[in-house]
């Protein structure tokens, strides 16, 4: 009895100290120096105690990985907030969107932030991929390159599944047209479509599937891959760099110099996205009416390049080119094993020149192909050659040829496999960006209109 009360008194009187020790485990043993603080901190899972000065410089990576991670975190928080109100039923979805838009406190802001963070994540992941490829930073980090590609794929999946959820005309028809692209995928196209939509049409089954993928499966996969991605960076020795001494490779404490830099970047990404979200809200169109197709039916902007390619040839746009892209990206670290120029933007000076020329060539080729295709058209130009030819001779297949030529000629001129693959990749990316822009300009009946031209009135 007495023992109990005295023990309780001791615990109560020692509460302040015990709280401090309990909430900051290890502080008593290791002291309070910067190094020991970092060693105790969760950040130590991600960063070593010391990093190179090069790692602190903004131009080294542009912080693109941190930007995409920040966007992901914002998406998680805003997404959970939206989940409080959103109902994934064909009858309720649009009404719950209207609730979020009109009656929920700060609902439009949270929704706009979610949308802008999603777009920021897609763009920063693409740029991150380009940065890593251009520096050959996949050398010795093949697994992490593949994990990164997986993250990119999941991000695309998240964006696409999220696009359907508002259940307005724009989202419904965008997903319908994207899903119909699967019709052109040989062998498993139909099964894939069934799996994705829970049937052959976009309905309740599809909405529920997209919702489940969007809020549970894909984010969980993304979290797991992010953990592996960050862990691998540390296991692989931090940022990729050329071996050697120099002031750049001098070590400085990660805390506070790197950690605060990253925090600062995260904070300003949040500030920038909040400001954009406050200024530009997310649109909510008319409720779904399956009898009134939107004209044009447009895929989400990040799939517009595929839709534009499909408008030339379904097999090419929906299957051949995406498959080539994926194969090329997966194969890249295994086909290029050069150590020279690692960690520098677009490698050696010769490599840089080759990539620049390829990029310019891609722009020229794109303009030439499009002018030829739109002016002459498959009707005049290719009809004489038979029905098979528009499938084979069009700007999309032209892109493959140009990328191939750029890769081969860069490779021969520089003797570098990196220069070859980077040239090919840059040609593809430049031309796909061009196809996306053309897709943006497509009006009713997929006719090209300049942005300053109005579309003819459609009901």
């Amino acid at each position: 009895m007495k023992g109990f009360f005295s023990a309780l008194w001791d615990n109560l009187s020692g509460l302040p100290g015990n709280l401090r020790r309990g909430l900051r485990p290890g502080v008593a043993d290791s002291g309070n120096s910067a190094a020991s603080r970092l060693r105790r901190s969760f950040v130590y899972h991600i960063h070593p105690l010391r990093v190179t000065r090069r790692a602190l410089r903004a131009s080294t990576t542009l912080g693109l990985g941190v930007v995409s991670l920040t966007a992901f975190l914002i998406l998680g928080v805003t997404g959970v907030l939206l989940m409080i109100y959103y109902q994934p039923g064909t009858q309720q979805a649009y009404a719950s969107m209207q609730d979020i838009q009109y009656a929920v406190a700060l609902g439009p802001f949270v929704r706009a932030l979610h949308r802008w963070a999603a777009y920021a994540m897609l763009v920063s992941i693409l740029l991150h991929l380009l940065r890593v490829a251009s520096m050959g930073a996949y050398r010795g980090r093949e697994l992490n390159w593949l994990v990164g590609l997986g993250l990119g794929g999941l991000a695309l999946g998240l964006a696409f599944t999220g696009y359907l959820l508002p259940w307005d005309q724009r989202s419904y028809w965008a997903v319908r047209v994207s899903a119909s692209m699967l019709d052109s995928v040989p062998l498993f196209g139909l099964a894939l479509k069934n799996l994705m939509l829970g049937g052959q049409t976009v309905g309740q089954a599809a909405l529920l599937r997209f919702y489940m993928l969007h809020v549970a499966m894909l984010p969980a996969g993304m979290l797991a891959l992010i953990a592996i991605h960050l862990w691998r960076i540390r296991r692989d020795g931090g940022l990729a760099k050329e071996a050697g001494e120099g002031e750049d490779n001098e070590l400085v404490p990660a805390w506070p110099h790197l950690v605060l830099r990253e925090t600062l970047l995260m904070l300003w990404v949040l500030v920038a996205l909040s400001a954009i979200a406050a200024l530009v809200s997310a649109p909510l169109g008319a409720p779904v009416d399956v009898h009134i197709p939107a004209n044009p039916e447009k895929a989400p902007w990040y799939f517009l390049w595929a839709q534009e390619l499909v408008s030339y040839s379904a097999r090419l746009g929906a299957f051949v080119i995406p498959a080539l892209l994926v194969l090329g990206l997966v194969g890249l670290p295994f086909l290029d094993r050069e150590d020279k120029g690692v960690g520098r933007w677009f490698g050696t000076p010769a490599c840089r020149l080759a990539v620049l020329l390829s990029g310019l060539g891609a722009i020229g080729a794109l303009l030439a192909f499009e002018v030829l295709y739109m002016q002459a058209g498959p009707g005049v130009f290719f009809k004489a050659l038979g029905t098979l030819w528009p499938d084979i001779v069009n700007p999309g297949s032209g892109m493959i040829v140009v990328a191939f030529i750029a890769a081969i000629s860069s490779g021969i001129a520089t003797g570098s496999t990196r220069a070859a693959f980077l040239s090919g990749l840059v040609v593809m990316l430049v031309m796909l960006l061009g196809f996306t822009l053309i897709g943006v300009c497509r009006g009713p009946d997929w006719v090209f209109y300049w942005p300053w031209e109005g579309w003819p009135g459609v009901s």
Binding site: R53, L56, R57, A95, Q98, D99, Q101, Y102, A103, A105, L106, P108, F109, E247, D248, V252, P253, P256, H257, L260, R261, T263, L264, L267, W268, L270, V271, S274, A275, A278, G285, A286, P287, D289, H291, I292, S459
Partner: protein, 340 residues
């Protein structure tokens, strides 16, 4: 690059502080903006006009009898305030006419008659004004009669003379020949599109469809009714009211707590012959009507080469012939009663 580590730390901390302050400023702006929306201003104006002291604003919402949420009362604060009827208030605050008191008491709500999007709180979107991207635009007099058909069979109750007149014109002008309203879905188009499946079109669109069909549908073979309606502008309005009532969304199952009001039901099923060949109703009598008014019908517009001979019965008209199966469905219902 030489790096002064102490200076660097200080700079980073200042950056964090500035960032946090800017973030707070942005969020504060967003919050302030959210408290100054259109409906909040409207509520403040209303309470200052009526002299009722209120310090806070709130969204006023309630489901109508179909279960759909409506927020109209948030701005239209005076709609049910019959005590304010004498006051000279702006239109948005005026109280509702007492003629529809029964509907108001039964919880019919606003959207069921007036159209618009009850959940929205932005006047452009909630009223579904042009450019707002929303279907089901707000209906003014006399077009609001079209809304009666959301629940009532046209003519079954008092107070919808223009709708009934429109239905009669629809038959007399022969619209029914190409737009039969009675066969199931898109697969059985005869000449014109199925008017039950077009969704809610704007008044302007419907009007253009009548006076200049090719403007909405390039290559349309539908004859223009421009000349006819220029003599009868009132009839144009009647037909428009009827057309609006066809493509209007039905209000849903509104059984008023199990006690059905006479003439209340689902308009599509009751009047326009529902899916799968079931049901049937008043408009099916158009077939009888076609036979009776053959000479007045503008058959030549559709059958330039094969004008049915007068007095031969409906059998000659291929449309009527094709729809014979439907006649049987409808004629079980109420043989001989007049259309409309």
């Amino acid at each position: 690059m030489s790096l002064d580590l102490i200076k660097d730390t200080r700079r980073l901390r200042v950056g964090l502080l500035v960032g946090a302050l800017v973030l707070l400023a942005v969020l504060a702006t967003v919050w302030l903006q959210s408290t100054r929306s259109e409906w909040q201003k409207r509520q403040k104006t209303f309470f200052s006009l009526t002299g009722e002291l209120r310090h806070s604003t709130e969204i006023l919402q309630s489901p109508n009898c179909t279960g759909r949420m409506e927020r109209c009362a948030t701005c239209h604060l005076g709609a049910r305030r019959f005590d304010l009827q004498g006051k000279n208030l702006p239109k948005v605050y005026r109280s509702h006419s007492r003629s529809m008191l029964g509907h108001l008491e039964r919880g019919t709500g606003c959207v069921s008659c007036h159209g618009g999007s009850g959940r929205a709180l932005d006047s452009r979107l909630s009223h579904a004004l042009p450019g707002g991207d929303q279907p089901d635009p707000l209906l003014d007099q006399p077009y609001i009669q079209a809304s009666c058909a959301r629940c009532h069979i046209p003519g079954a109750r008092e107070g919808m003379p223009r709708l009934v007149a429109g239905a009669e014109s629809y038959l007399r002008l022969g619209c029914l020949i190409c737009h039969p309203l009675a066969s199931g879905g898109r697969g059985s188009w005869d000449f014109g599109p199925d008017l039950r499946a077009t969704g809610r079109k704007s008044l302007a669109y419907l009007k253009t469809s009548l006076v200049d069909p090719a403007a909405n549908f390039p290559g349309s073979t539908m004859p223009s009714f421009k000349n006819h309606f220029s003599d009868e502008p009132g009839e144009l309005q009647d037909v428009l009211i009827f057309l609006l009532s066809l493509s209007i969304q039905d209000a849903g199952d509104c059984s008023h707590g199990g006690k059905l009001v006479s003439g209340v039901g689902k308009p599509c099923a009751d009047c326009h012959a529902g899916a799968a060949g079931k049901a049937g109703g008043r408009f099916a009598h158009g077939c009888v009507y076609i036979v009776e008014h053959k000479d007045e019908l503008n058959c030549a517009a559709c059958h330039p080469k094969q004008v049915p001979a007068p007095g031969m019965g409906g059998g000659l008209c291929p449309v009527v012939e094709r729809h014979r199966a439907n006649c049987a469905v409808c004629h079980e219902m109420s043989e001989g009663s007049s259309p409309g």
